[in-house]
């Protein structure tokens, strides 16, 4: 019995490493497959975030233009990292950016946008995470490219970094905009 106790650390570590190994297999977090690719954006109806000077939105309003739908929160450090990149996408490349403010406190979200600037056209508050569930997100931030017909064409998990913009976003946006 005592002997068994001494073996326990080795067993625990082996189990831990095994679990990680399974989790790592076929994993590329920035290109997670999404069940929603080439499917219409789920029907969402999100209210405006209190204190933010932008309207909320409904999926029905969004048709007719290629756009980015970005799930973000003020409590998420990577969202700060991607914020200037998204801002640049909207300013330089003129892509409309639609926000989903995920499980956030309205005043914190407002302060976040005041501090870093507000590149969004509309922001819907998803206080309970229902929209996140509908969109099938695996974390925050996550960004979807939605085409003019309202179909999700690409999903990016994690912060959008300059290399993603160059390698993935701009080519796809160019293609979708014709």
């Amino acid at each position: 019995m005592r002997r068994l106790l001494y073996v326990l650390p080795a067993v625990l570590v082996a189990a831990l490493a095994f679990t990680f190994a399974i989790g790592l297999r076929d994993r590329d977090p920035s290109a997670l497959p999404s069940a929603l690719i080439d499917r219409p954006l789920p029907a969402l109806d999100l209210p405006a975030v209190e204190g933010v000077d932008l309207p909320g939105w409904q999926t029905a309003d969004l048709h007719g233009e290629v756009m980015l739908v970005n799930v973000f929160a003020s409590w998420c450090p990577p969202c700060r990292v991607e914020h200037p990149v998204l801002t640049r996408l909207t300013e330089v490349h003129g892509v409309p950016l639609i926000g989903v403010n995920y499980k956030d406190a309205p005043e914190a979200a407002a302060a976040f946008l005041v501090e870093l600037g507000n590149p969004y056209r509309k922001i819907g508050g998803d206080f309970e995470g229902r929209a996140g569930l509908e969109l099938g997100i695996s974390g925050v931030p996550e960004t979807f490219i939605v085409d003019a017909d309202g179909h999700i064409r690409f999903r990016h998990a994690g912060p959008v970094l300059p290399e993603h913009v160059e390698q993935v976003f701009l080519p796809l946006l160019r293609e979708l905009r014709g």
Binding site: Y6, P9, V13, T87, E115, G117, I137, P162
Partner: protein, 667 residues
């Protein structure tokens, strides 16, 4: 030519490391002096080769050689020289090469300074260290070659993440790596002891300086990272329980436990298998941190480029480095017997409590860090375990730890007198109550928790003073001789007192800055003033500023108090055109009592600027305390019993007891 030579040096170092990790083991088993001596020569050779290799990479960054893929991706020409150099380790490949270089640095240091150990034991330690080096050079060569060429060479690089273009980056990662990698040496000591099946007080004495240097570097590395987050990220906070912060905190907690448990091994020849386990796991947590940051399991400010292959490779290193020694442990540990009886009310009893609480704290942080990852792997659901979890679990473990700490330092080895310790602590209790009252009446926002935090700090500080006085023989000899006795106390006694005072200082910093922080978010135009906690902050001017590789909108603020000018602060919103991103530069005026912290934001529609102002009382105490802890570890290393070569346990004990009470280091 240089990159090819540097790459070649790395390949040769790999071969040398293979030799170092095998032949000396055989030599030690057969008592072959030639093969044993090979270990030290191999360690030196690797250090020279890696110094060349890493130096070459730094050089390539300095001259902006964009024919090297790594340089092209992470640097550009118009950056200040300092950031060209520090940019070398601001990316995955370069930081890995730095990591390997530090590994060989420790190998060479052990070859140079480990003279008091038996040659066979030293050869075994170096061999295990060699295995770690083999693994990491292989990782570099096969998945992350920093010398990969790019043809044709671009004219300009793509730049370095502006958040990393900060003097903090010069020191934060190297200190952290010295800490992480330093624990590879203590790991090697533990594994070598398992191979020999022998853990005794001399082993504890050999390993202790290495634990101290690794621990103090890690302490400084974490503190620098936290200070960097405080002034560079501009959120006014200094610790976020971010998984990557936790990843560096785990080896620190385990290392702190190790630091204390080896004292028990040294003084009482017990707690051996636990100490071995701690040494293995402390390095294991260092590897876990590397894995979490570099595998793409986490998304974080710290995360490097995502590559599942790399993740798998580190996971493999992690699994082999832990499971192998732990199996050896399962075989050897049951034979490790403690000598002498054990009494709960004793110094070692208190140190065991310390270890249990630190281990529990490590477990809590580990759980909070890994549980979301596991949940995601198993169910796909992503949850965020944030500060509320850690505050609710970690702090309740720290409070009893810090309460017991000073009482424990006043208990004697073997059989302590709890009554006497408590009597001595009554003076510390007065200090505790006094500080609690000060806290309660200084600020109306003080709560019971604030008062308790201050009381705890007073308790710790009082305990540290009483510890010194007791060791100097207060109450047992005349008052007149007290100063002389205090002066003649060994360095380790002062180290313990200074380190525990450091803890008290940090506790005050954390308590005050979280309870009494004032945050004001407001819109300001030219000449507008805003009051924050008694300070009057005026926006004097906003104008464009041109940096070497950025353009900024810079706000100038005048800070006054009661009509007296305190400081002129500037806060920028910098735009880096090469990288296409922006950062915020914070304006801080700092003294011992408070920081006034200014961040300028966007211009709003009506021409006003959004400004965030913070008043952070006593916030620098957090880092002053950690500095005291790190300095204390260095003081402890200078203690006589490590400088005097003491191969024989018995002689060493006699030599180490110049004053009446036995010197008891860093407990």
């Amino acid at each position: 030519m240089i990159p090819e030579l540097a790459h070649l040096a790395l390949v040769i170092a790999f071969g040398v490391a293979l030799v170092q990790s095998t032949l000396p083991l055989a030599g030690a088993a057969r008592n072959d002096a030639g093969l044993i001596g090979l270990a030290s020569s191999a360690a030196w050779a690797q250090f020279v080769l890696l110094t060349f290799s890493f130096g070459a990479l730094v050089h390539l960054y300095m001259v902006s050689d964009f024919s090297i893929l790594n340089v092209y991706q992470n640097s550009h020409d118009s950056k200040p020289m300092l950031y060209k150099i520090t940019g070398t380790w601001g990316n995955h490949e370069g930081s890995l090469l730095l990591w390997v270089w530090v590994l060989t640095l420790f190998g060479a240091a052990l070859a140079a300074f480990g003279k008091s150990m038996p040659a066979t034991f030293k050869a075994r330690v170096l061999a295990v260290q060699g295995m770690v080096t083999v693994a990491f050079i292989a990782f570099t060569l096969f998945t992350s070659n920093p010398f990969e060429r790019l043809d044709p060479a671009p004219l300009e690089g793509t730049g370095l993440n502006p958040l990393l273009q900060d003097p903090g980056l010069a020191f934060h990662p190297p200190m952290l790596y010295i800490g992480y990698v330093g624990f590879s040496i203590t790991f090697a000591f533990a594994v070598a002891a398992l191979i020999e099946g022998r853990v005794d007080p001399s082993w504890a004495r050999w390993i202790r300086p290495w634990v101290l240097i690794a621990w103090s570097s890690l302490t400084l590395g974490i503190a620098l990272g936290s200070y960097w987050a405080y002034y560079e990220l501009g959120w006014g906070g200094w610790w976020f329980w971010d998984p990557v912060e936790n990843a560096s905190f785990l080896p620190w907690l385990a290392g702190t436990a190790l630091l204390h448990s080896i004292i028990v091994v040294e003084k009482r020849d017990s707690l051996k298998s636990w100490t071995i386990l701690l040494a293995i796991f402390t390095f294991g947590f260092s590897l876990l941190g590397t894995f979490l940051v570099r595998s793409g399991v986490l998304t974080s400010v710290h995360a490097f480029a995502v590559d599942p292959d790399r993740g798998m490779f580190i996971l493999l290193i992690l699994a082999v480095a832990l499971v192998g020694p732990l199996l050896l442990f399962a075989w050897r540990a049951p034979q490790m017997r403690a000598s002498g009886a054990f009494q709960p009310i004793s110094r070692e009893g208190a140190l065991i409590m310390n270890n249990l609480l630190l281990a529990a704290a490590t477990g809590v942080v580990l759980l909070g860090t890994l549980y979301p990852l596991f949940l995601e792997l198993v169910t796909g659901e992503k949850i965020s375990v944030g500060p509320p979890f850690f505050n609710a679990t970690f702090i309740p473990l720290m409070v009893p730890l810090l309460l017991i700490l000073p009482i424990g330092t006043l208990l004697a080895w073997k059989r302590g007198d709890l009554r006497r310790s408590l009597r001595l602590m009554s003076l510390a209790a007065v200090a505790a109550i006094a500080l609690a009252l000060v806290a309660a009446f200084t600020d109306p926002r003080s709560t019971i928790v604030t008062a308790l935090g201050f009381a705890l700090a007073g308790w710790l500080f009082g305990g540290a003073v009483m510890d010194l006085l007791q060791r100097a023989g207060i109450g047992r000899s005349s008052w007149a001789r007290l100063p002389a006795r205090l002066v003649s106390l060994p360095g380790s006694a002062y180290a313990a007192a200074v380190a525990h005072t450091g803890v008290a200082v940090t506790v005050i910093g954390i308590t005050a800055s979280s309870a009494w922080q004032t945050e004001v978010i407001t819109s300001m135009g030219y000449g507008d003033s805003q009051r924050v906690a008694g300070y009057n902050v005026t926006l004097a001017h906003v104008g464009p500023v041109q940096g070497p590789n950025w353009i900024a909108n810079e706000g100038t603020f005048e800070v006054e108090r009661d009509g007296r000018h305190i400081a002129t602060l500037t806060s920028d919103r910098r735009h880096y055109p090469v990288e296409g991103t922006s950062t915020t530069e914070v304006g801080i005026t700092s003294n011992l009592w408070r920081d006034v912290y200014v961040v300028i934001g966007e211009q709003t529609g009506d021409g006003l600027y959004v400004v965030r102002l913070y008043h952070n009382p006593l916030v620098v105490w957090i880092w002053l305390g950690t500095l005291l802890m790190a300095v204390a570890a260095v003081v402890s290393m200078a203690d006589r019993r490590f400088r005097v070569g003491a191969p024989e346990p018995k002689r060493a004990k006699a030599a180490a007891a110049p004053a009446a009470p036995a010197p008891q280091a860093g407990s």
